[in-house]
């Protein structure tokens, strides 16, 4: 009795029970025929699909293609966003000059650029990469900007007292102080760019490979197992990235001694 009460109070049990119930509901709903097999498939079918050689190879190459696209797009977007955000935060003039345009640009829902991008860069890889770069630019630029802006005045005064040069001030004081905010922006950007890669593959389509394209193809071919498998993979990768990045930020910023 006591042991049962202890288990039921354990956070792991409480966290996992709703998940288990949902999964059980899924299986029961399929087996009992509450939902059609065009909507959901049972775990057995899903496992069978996942172990089929051609599915494995197509999903493998799709994942690789999406990953490459993510890296290409995100590295441009993040590098640009970092430079832009830090520049905006450091110099009041560049903030005045570019700030309003940047904030106006951010108001446009990011998917609204897709029709324009496909017109300019075609349906191929290029427009997807540009879209990923565009999507990852915003959060990291914003994080860097706000991080640099909110460096306490007293820190800057220490630098001035020590007669630091501007470059030293930037590298020794501003950037370390802004690092957590910059990293948060970076984290957001990376997650954004993963889902932007997927979104671009859904919305742009075209003849390129990719995990999102495979999901869309599965939908067109009325293969719910492929759709489910693809979305599960996409979700797992997104959640995995998020978890890794959070762990990284925790261990990176331990030196600050702040609870994060």
């Amino acid at each position: 009795m006591n042991a049962a009460a202890a288990i039921s109070r354990h956070p792991l049990f409480r966290g996992l029970l709703p998940v288990a119930l949902l999964l059980a509901l899924w299986e029961v709903a399929v087996v009992r025929g509450w939902v059609g097999t065009d909507v959901l498939v049972s775990f057995g079918t899903l496992y069978e699909t996942a172990t089929t050689p051609e599915v494995r190879s197509s999903f493998g190459s799709g994942l690789t293609a999406s990953g490459v696209r993510l890296v290409e797009g995100a590295s441009f977007g993040i590098a640009g966003g970092l430079l832009f955000g830090i520049g905006l935060g450091v110099s009041r003039w560049s903030d005045r000059l570019f700030g309003p345009s940047f904030h106006a640009f951010r108001q446009v829902a990011v998917f609204a650029w897709i029709p324009l991008l496909t017109a300019w860069f075609g349906n191929g890889d290029l427009s997807k990469i540009v879209f990923v770069a565009l999507a990852s630019f915003g959060p990291v630029a914003m994080g860097a900007f706000e991080g640099v802006k909110s460096v306490p005045q007293s820190y800057l005064e220490v630098g001035r007292v020590l007669c630091f040069s501007r470059r030293r001030q930037l590298w020794r004081i501003v950037l370390p102080a802004a690092a957590p905010a910059i990293f948060t922006g970076l984290q957001l950007s990376l997650i954004f760019s993963w889902f932007a890669t997927i979104g671009a593959e859904y919305l742009i389509g075209g003849m390129t490979q990719g995990i999102g394209t495979l999901v869309m193809q599965g939908r067109e071919q009325m293969r719910p197992d492929l759709v489910l498998l693809g979305i599960l993979l996409i979700a797992l990768i997104g959640i995995g990235m998020n978890t890794l990045l959070r762990l990284a930020s925790r261990s990176l910023f331990k030196w600050r001694g702040l609870p994060s």
Binding site: P11, R14, G15, L16, L17, P18, V19, L22, D38, V39, L40, W93, R96, L97, F98, G99, P100, S101, A104, F105, Q107, V108, A109, V110, F111, A112, W113, I114, P115, L116, T118, A119, W120, V161, L162, C163, I191, F195, I198, G199, Y202, L203, V215, M216, G218, R219, P224, V227, L228, G230, I231, I234, A235, G238, I239, N242
Partner: protein
Amino acid sequence: MSTHAPAPALELRPFPLRAATAPASLFLRRRVSLSRPQAPVLPGQERKKRVNPRRLETKSGGRILFSRWLAAAAGKGVGLIVPLVVLTLWWAAAHWRWLPATILPAPAAVAQSFHDLLAGGDLLSNLGISLERVAKGFVVGGAVGLFLGLAMGFSPAVESWIGPLFRTVAQLPAVALIPLLIQFLGIEEGLKLFVMAKACSIPITFTASEGIRSIPAQYIEVARVFRLRRWTVIRKVILPGALPSIFTGVRQGLSHVWVSLVAVEILASSDGIGYLMSWGRLIFQLDVVLVCVGVIGLVGFLFDFGLKQVEARLLRWQGSH
């Protein structure tokens, strides 16, 4: 038996009158003026020539005044430089045919098509449809988000049961799930509503539960000292305390609704502003696309701006806002 040493008499020192008579600020001022900060001389580095900062100030006083005036004027005008440059480049590119008109329509063509779409009613009717969807998604998502957030904020038990599942689902943007959702809900209004409500409810749930949990314990203690009833505590202490945080979530939620609606309308819709845009793309009328991009940006801005106004009105009692 041990003899206790007599306890030392409490020594009463004379109160330091000197410190009391002279105001502290006097000492302080003298201190500061005595020691000017100096950079420590690092090995291999010579001390730079000291410059009297005051003299520097007076010498370039005119410049400082001028730059201050410039800054005041700049605060308003400088932001326009970049858009004007872009517009000029755009106009030049269209005028001298650096790019074909199908790729980059002239600004005048975009303005003309904006006028046509407005006069023909296409723009307003599609925008109206989209806004109606936004309203529905925002209301449903906001209600769900508030309910979940309040439940998770008030009750640690609820938090421990559904918190982990919620945080996992929250990491997946609704747009990524669209193909799966289409299987469940089709491509009609149900899909749009679900996607928007999901996108909207997540930030609100987070900020609402965070806002409630981060209310200082002292506030609750004060309420307990006054023996306020539970409902009064909630209404007068907890909700007002959590309101700023909730509002941040509401603003994020609305912007997420807008972003995800545009995505769904591009992907699966036969009306709405996103559809109008993808239709313009389909017939290669980029002027229509550009008009839609502008309108989508403007609407996003107005949402944010409007909610900020509401927030300022609601949180006026805080003073600092």
